[in-house]
C-alpha cells in the first residue's frame, strides 16, 4: 500500500513533465528497507525527466525521499532507459 503511494507520486510527477504521459510506466521493486522505484518513459521524454545536469531527476529524488521519510522508509528512484 505504501509502495503504491510512492509509485503514484512518481507517476504523477513524471506524467506532468513529459510530452507522452500515456507512455510513463512506473514499477516498484520492494526491498527489506529500501524500495526501488523504476521509471520508464519514451526515448524522447528521457531528457524531460532527467533535466539539465540531472536537475529534474534530483528534484524528483528529493521529493521522493521527503515523502518516504514520512512513512519511515527509504525509496530510491531509478530512471530506466
Amino acid at each position: 500500500m505504501d509502495g503504491d503511494t510512492m509509485k503514484d507520486l512518481i507517476k504523477y510527477i513524471a506524467q506532468a513533465l513529459v510530452d507522452h504521459p500515456d507512455q510513463v510506466d512506473v514499477s516498484e521493486v520492494v526491498g527489506e528497507q529500501t524500495s526501488v522505484i523504476e521509471l520508464r518513459v519514451t526515448k524522447e521524454d528521457l531528457g524531460k525527466v532527467i533535466g539539465k545536469q540531472g536537475k529534474t531527476a534530483k528534484a524528483m529524488r528529493t521529493i521522493l525521499s521527503a515523502a518516504s521519510s514520512k512513512l519511515n522508509k527509504r525509496s530510491v528512484l531509478e530512471i530506466i532507459e
Binding site: 503511494t5 507520486l9 513533465l17 528534484a59 521529493i63 515523502a67 514520512k70
Partner: protein, 244 residues
C-alpha cells in the same frame, strides 16, 4: 485617479475557476489583466473527475495602477479595456495560477500532505502558498524540498516552451524568512572580510540566494562580491577593497 477607490475586492462563483474569472471580468467590465485574482475554492467536479456540487470561488480586486492619462478618466479607458478583454478572450490569463495550484496540490496529496494550497497571481509571477503544519518537513534542509517542488512545478508548466509566468512556492513564510537570514549572513561575512582584510567564501548557493547576498552587499563601498564555480557549486566570494 480622481476617485480613489482603495482595494475593493469582489467574490465570484462559477462551475470552474475559469468561469468565475470570466464572470468577474464581465461584471466589473475589466480585462483579466486589470484584475488581481485570488482563488478561494476550486470547483470539485474538475480535476480528479469527481462529481461534486462544490462551486469554484474567486476573489477579484482591481489592480491599483491605471494608465488613463487623457482628460476623460472613466470613459475612454473603459472602452479600451473592454476591447482588450474581447481580444484576449478574457479568461486565459488565470490558467497558469490554476494549473500550478492543481499540480502542487496533486503532488502534495501523493506525498501524504493534505495541506490547503492557495494561488495568487501578481503581474510577472504566480505565488503558490502552502499552509504547512509547522513541522517544516515540506521545506527540508536548506529549503531543498520546497525548492525541488518549485522546480518541478515550473518545469511541468513551462514544458511547452511558451513563455509563461514564474511560479514561486512558499510555505510558512519560508521565502521571506530565508531572505532576511541570508541578508544577515551576508552582512556578518562582510564584516569579517573587512576585519581580516581577506576574501571570505560563502557556501555554494542557488542563483536566487546568491542574488540576495549580492544585493545585500551592493551598497557597501568597501566590499566587492563575485561568483565563482559552475552549476550547483557556484558560490560567492566577498572581497575586501573598493568597488570597481
Amino acid at each position: 485617479m480622481s476617485e480613489s477607490s482603495p482595494k475593493e475586492s469582489f467574490e465570484f462563483e462559477g462551475k470552474t475557476i475559469d468561469e468565475a474569472i470570466a464572470k468577474a471580468c464581465n461584471e466589473l467590465n475589466l480585462s483579466r489583466e486589470k484584475l488581481n485574482i485570488e482563488i478561494l475554492t476550486e470547483g470539485a467536479a474538475g480535476f480528479l473527475g469527481l462529481v461534486g456540487g462544490k462551486k469554484a470561488r474567486i476573489s477579484a480586486s482591481i489592480l491599483s495602477f491605471n494608465m488613463d492619462f487623457d482628460e476623460t478618466p472613466g470613459e475612454a479607458p473603459l472602452a479600451a479595456t473592454k476591447q482588450k478583454a474581447a481580444e484576449s478572450g478574457g479568461t486565459e490569463a488565470g490558467d497558469t495560477a490554476l494549473e500550478a495550484r492543481e499540480l502542487t496540490k496533486g503532488i502534495l496529496q501523493r506525498m501524504g500532505f493534505d495541506f490547503p494550497v492557495t494561488a495568487r497571481e501578481d503581474g510577472e509571477s504566480v505565488t503558490i502558498d502552502i499552509e504547512g503544519d509547522g513541522s517544516g518537513i515540506l521545506i527540508g534542509k536548506g529549503g531543498q524540498t520546497l525548492d525541488a517542488l518549485q522546480y518541478l512545478v515550473n518545469k511541468a508548466l513551462n514544458k511547452n516552451g511558451t513563455d509563461r509566468k514564474r511560479i514561486i512556492l512558499d510555505t510558512e513564510n519560508y521565502r521571506s524568512k530565508r531572505e532576511s537570514s541570508l541578508e544577515a549572513l551576508a552582512l556578518k561575512l562582510g564584516e569579517k572580510a573587512k576585519r581580516t582584510g581577506k576574501p571570505v567564501t560563502v557556501n555554494p548557493m542557488n542563483a536566487h540566494d546568491r542574488r540576495i547576498v549580492h544585493l545585500a552587499l551592493q551598497e557597501d563601498k568597501e566590499l566587492t562580491t563575485r561568483s565563482r564555480g559552475e552549476g550547483a557549486f557556484r558560490k560567492i566570494i566577498i572581497l575586501p577593497g573598493k568597488k570597481g
